[in-house]
């Protein structure tokens, strides 16, 4: 799956540059599904990088595991979901030293949640690189009930927690690693705009 190109948007909307190898620094890498391909390209750009890398992969149905493992990283782990990988990821962050680079590749949900964890652990924002691959589904927070709805692909969508119909805003919270959804029919209850596919 190729890199996702985003249309211009408001400034809080994150965009994700291609991953670039940072020489000589220890590396922590986290990818889901098609994000694995971005890590493979990164490894091809600087083969020496993998000897210092700790890779955590969430295959989510993709078949890149063996290829990723074959890159020969210092440590390699797979987990079925971000939640399942969180413990290991947190431990890796706790043990990390200043200078460590974090490489994230995959969906915005993964990038957002992992960035939020890393910042909370004290990793400086400028030590984090991310590349978007795969689905453009968004992780949305309902600003009313604060519930998170994963894999949102339409606008508006229905909050999985409180049932309000929410407008998908481009407003992204780095702290939460999620976009913000606001009630779309607050002033005109029941009058809803036509549902559209979210575009990147």
């Amino acid at each position: 799956m190729p890199r996702t190109a985003f249309t211009p948007s408001i400034t809080s909307r994150p965009t994700y540059a291609p991953l670039r190898p940072h020489p000589a620094a220890p590396a922590l890498m986290l990818a889901d599904a098609d994000g694995a391909e971005a890590l493979m390209e990164l490894a091809a750009a600087d083969p020496a990088l993998m000897a210092r890398a700790h890779v955590i992969y969430i295959p989510a149905g993709a078949a890149h595991g063996p290829g990723l493992r074959a890159l020969g990283s210092a440590m390699y782990h797979e987990a079925p979901s971000f939640a399942a990988a969180t413990e290991r990821f947190r431990k890796a962050l706790t043990d990390a030293r200043m200078g460590t680079q974090l490489y994230l590749a995959g969906t915005e949900g993964l990038i957002g949640q992992a960035t939020a964890e890393a910042l909370a652990a004290g990793l400086p924002a400028d030590a984090i690189q991310a590349e978007h691959r795969g689905t453009i589904a968004r992780r949305m927070q309902c600003v009313h009930c604060k519930g998170m709805t994963e894999d949102v692909t339409t606008d508006p969508f229905t909050c999985a927690h409180c049932g309000l119909v929410l407008f998908v805003r481009d407003h992204f919270s780095r702290r939460l690693g999620a976009f913000q959804g606001v009630c779309v029919d607050a002033e005109t209850p029941g009058i809803l705009p036509e549902t559209q596919e979210i575009r990147a």
Partner: protein, 314 residues
């Protein structure tokens, strides 16, 4: 500049080269609090020249009873530190600006690593008080070649977080070891000679530290030099003496120029150059290399000129 009229309450020699000055409000009023790393500019009426030198505050930032500075005597400088050492006595009144901080701690940091050399230890002394009060994790490293060059040594409190490295005694500071093992969220602050700041930057870059976690301050004393003249937009000509800075010469001529650090670091005194036939001796840390090469801007607090004519947009 918004200055306070303060009384010199104490003058304490603390090493052959370094003297501590304590300033209090003449009526005992509380002085404005500051944050660690802040400096004040002291006005020195020195035989017709009004010198103004910036000094980091070394006292506890929340102790409003007094401001303290430490001045190292520079025998080859322009005379500001000699004035402080030889002419200032307890009981004197001096004008001192309100504190300004160009080198504050980033309080979002998880840990603070302070690296100082020579008299570059001064901004850290107030930061130590601040960090201790905040109970924030920190370590301080003070480096010097010999114990006798370690002018700041006697100012340092005896704390387990304070590490002194004297290379002559075989415990040279190992920046790789210091920066190689810091937890995530650590910020590094460096103050001292250029070489020390460059060494910290290089080591940090080699270890993959992001720029945003690195802070440094190098106040430059305005260097003396050969006399020169500048022309103002009005056609007026102003002579700058060998032991005077361009900024001081402009002030003596009552040409208003804004300033804050007087050490080439803050950018406040940036002045446009209308014409330049000759070479501007850029001594500042503010202008980029391209700006310096273009010779269309000058920082009058530290920079000088050699050549035919320099016309300033003033």
């Amino acid at each position: 500049m918004n200055a306070l009229e303060l009384r010199v309450a104490a003058v304490d020699p603390i090493s052959p080269l370094v003297t501590r000055f304590r300033f209090e409000h003449p009526e005992g009023a509380t002085l404005p609090p500051f944050s660690g790393g802040a400096h004040v500019v002291v006005e020195m009426p020195d035989d017709g020249i009004l010198r103004r030198n910036a000094y980091s505050l070394i006292s506890d930032p929340l102790d409003g009873r007094a401001y303290e500075i430490a001045v190292r005597r520079e025998d080859t400088g322009r005379g500001g530190s000699r004035f402080m050492h030889h002419r200032v006595k307890a009981g004197d009144m001096l004008r001192v600006t309100r504190p300004i901080n160009l080198f504050s701690l980033d309080l979002r940091a998880r840990k603070h690593v302070l690296i100082g050399g020579g008299i570059g230890i001064t901004p850290f002394l107030a930061q130590l008080a601040q960090l201790t009060r905040l109970q924030a994790p920190f370590e301080l490293h003070y480096a010097a070649r010999t114990r006798s060059e370690a002018a700041g040594l006697s100012l340092l409190p005896d704390m387990p977080q304070v590490h002194v490295h004297i290379s002559d005694e075989g415990n040279r500071m190992d920046l790789g070891a210091i920066l190689g093992h810091q937890p995530l969220g650590t910020h590094v602050y460096t103050c001292g000679p250029e070489g020390l700041i460059a060494a910290v930057d290089d080591t940090a870059a080699r270890l993959g530290w992001p720029r945003g976690a690195l802070h440094s301050e190098a106040f430059l004393a305005p260097p003396p030099g050969t006399p020169f003249a500048v022309t103002l937009a009005s056609g007026r000509r102003i002579e700058v003496g060998p032991h005077e800075s361009l900024l001081e010469a402009l002030e003596a001529a009552e040409v208003p120029v804004d300033w804050s650090c007087r050490g080439g670091a803050c950018g406040r005194c940036e002045t446009r150059v209308a014409a330049c036939h000759g070479r501007i001796e850029h001594n500042d840390h503010w202008l980029t290399d391209d700006e310096k090469a273009a010779q269309t801007k000058i920082m009058p607090c530290v920079s000088r000129f050699a050549g035919e004519t320099l016309t300033l947009d003033l």
